[in-house]
């Protein structure tokens, strides 16, 4: 059965389907894992949390595996390092490998020989690579000029902030065995990042409406169309409002409330997946001909 009727082809707004429907949903998870992997590593560096760094390494592996699972010819994956001069997927693939290598060495040094100069050096290298892993997925999407909703300079920034939000959420989960002071510090930082994340989403959507008619219609699809329930419930309510509402009261009164922090963190993580989903889902191509 034809997915697109021949006479309908590019006659109206045509949603991109290759990176969201069927197997394509893996791209949303790859973007998500990449973002939170980099964000978690950077947050763990700041709070000096070795467990968080290790989980970030695992998540970077998940990024690469999810990317590969989306490929129809996964055994040729090594070819994806061949075009870093022009392709953001190629650059991202290299950054993931760099991060995996540097972070693995750093984790080993931090575990067996902490406090050495080598540890600091590899933390810096892995930190730079982690930032690259967090931001590259934004460039993969933002570089696509054909989809006006994505073709925005703010997308990479939004993806980094979203990655940092998810990373902080995982760090909050990983910090539950730590002292009350440390847990509250992470929770307070997460609330701050959530606020920045909320502002970033709002600025991105607001500016995008001025980019072009297609971009504005895509934003309207997000806010009022068929994707609106996922955006408002998944991204806004579950991903931003609920985590802030649950975590902020305890964070600001410096009372570590394990259940509240865990629920808030899990909600923020789910919201992060929803953000990547709605952005991919709302991407449409402009028609080549007017339909009527």
């Amino acid at each position: 059965m034809m997915r697109i009727k021949p006479y309908d082809f590019m006659m109206k707004y045509t949603p991109q389907t290759d990176w969201i429907e069927g197997h394509g949903i893996l791209i949303a998870f790859a973007l998500f894992f990449g973002g939170i992997s980099g964000g978690l590593y950077l947050a763990s560096l700041y709070f000096d949390n070795l467990v968080g760094m290790f989980v970030a390494w695992i998540l970077a592996m998940a990024t690469g595996m999810t990317d590969m699972a989306h490929l129809s010819k996964p055994m040729r994956f090594w070819r994806m390092v061949l075009k870093p001069n022009s392709s953001w997927i190629s650059r991202g693939f290299i950054l993931i490998w760099l991060f995996l290598g540097c972070a693995a060495i750093q984790l080993a040094i931090s575990y067996w020989a902490p406090g050495t100069a080598a540890e600091t050096v590899f933390k810096v290298f892995a930190g730079i690579a982690a930032f690259g892993v967090a931001i590259y997925s934004g460039f993969v999407v933002g570089y696509v000029g054909a989809i006006k909703l994505w073709n925005s300079a703010i997308i990479p920034i939004l993806f980094v902030v979203a990655g940092l939000t998810g990373g902080m959420a995982i760090l909050l989960l990983a910090s539950q065995g730590e002292t009350t002071r440390q847990i509250v510090d992470v929770a307070t930082a997460m609330v701050a990042v959530l606020v920045v994340y909320a502002v970033s989403v709002a600025i991105y959507l607001w500016i995008t409406t001025y980019e072009s008619h297609v971009a504005r219609d895509s934003v309207m699809l997000l806010l009022k169309g068929s994707i609106a329930p996922v955006f408002w419930i998944g991204v806004v309510l579950i991903g931003i409002v609920v985590p802030i509402a649950i975590i902020a009261p305890y964070a600001f009164t410096e009372a570590a409330q394990t259940a509240a922090f865990i629920i808030g963190a899990v909600f923020a993580i789910i919201g992060g997946v929803a953000l990547r989903y709605v952005i991919l889902k709302a991407g449409v191509y402009a028609p080549l001909l007017p339909a009527e």
Partner: protein
């Protein structure tokens, strides 16, 4: 040398012969189209203009698909033809995402046939031997580069000699499609584009297409 097309829309009758010729030439499986005919309308009754565009990969001089391909599977030849090396493609589909004209297709299911549940037709059987399509690979129009290459090797001129000219061009019953070298200032195609004010399809995408349309 840069191969290009000029398509005279006033001559095009929307018969889809170019689509069928392409299907036959490359033994394209069901659901795979390397070219299409877009038919639309502009204006309101009583002054309505019918629009017919025979479209295919524009073989852009500045192609987005080549830039985003992470493996180099999509590349551009010296004559401007953008093609996909089936043995290098990993199937990430970034090129499909990046093409503003959406002129690439992903060959997802290698088992599709024109008459499901029945035997393959003789044409399909021959096609699977002569022109095998790899499953899980991105496909697109290549200006019939096989015809161009073999024709030129035989001393023929693409755009002039049938054997060296793309199938959609020679099959057009109204001769609406012209083919030739855009880099040759004396070529027939350049004369037509210049005299009849040929223009690129959606030039706002900034990809410098090699196909020109004449209103």
């Amino acid at each position: 040398m840069r191969w290009g097309m000029a398509i005279e829309q006033k001559r095009c009758i929307g018969c889809y012969e170019c689509v069928l010729a392409c299907k036959a030439e490359h033994f394209l499986p069901p659901e795979i189209f390397w070219n299409r005919v877009l038919i639309g309308e502009r204006g309101k009754y009583p002054s309505v203009t019918k629009l017919i565009y025979s479209v295919r990969c524009n073989q852009c001089a500045d192609p987005a698909c080549v830039k985003v391909c992470p493996t180099g599977a999509t590349s551009q030849r010296e004559d401007g033809i953008v093609w996909v090396d089936e043995d290098k493609c990993v199937g990430c589909r970034y090129c499909i995402i990046a093409c503003p004209y959406q002129m690439r297709m992903f060959y997802e299911d290698g088992d599709t046939q024109y008459f499901p549940g029945q035997e393959l037709t003789e044409h399909e059987k021959v096609g699977r031997e002569l022109y095998p399509h790899q499953e899980g690979i991105v496909e697109k129009c290549v200006f019939c580069k096989e015809r161009i290459d073999s024709g030129m090797a035989a001393g023929l001129t693409p755009g002039v000699d049938r054997e060296a000219t793309p199938a959609c061009v020679i099959s057009c019953p109204t001769k609406a499609i012209h083919f030739g070298d855009l880099d040759d200032p004396n070529s027939e195609i350049n004369r037509i584009i210049k005299e009849k004010h040929g223009h690129a399809f959606h030039p706002e995408y900034d990809t410098d297409p090699s196909i020109f349309y004449i209103d």
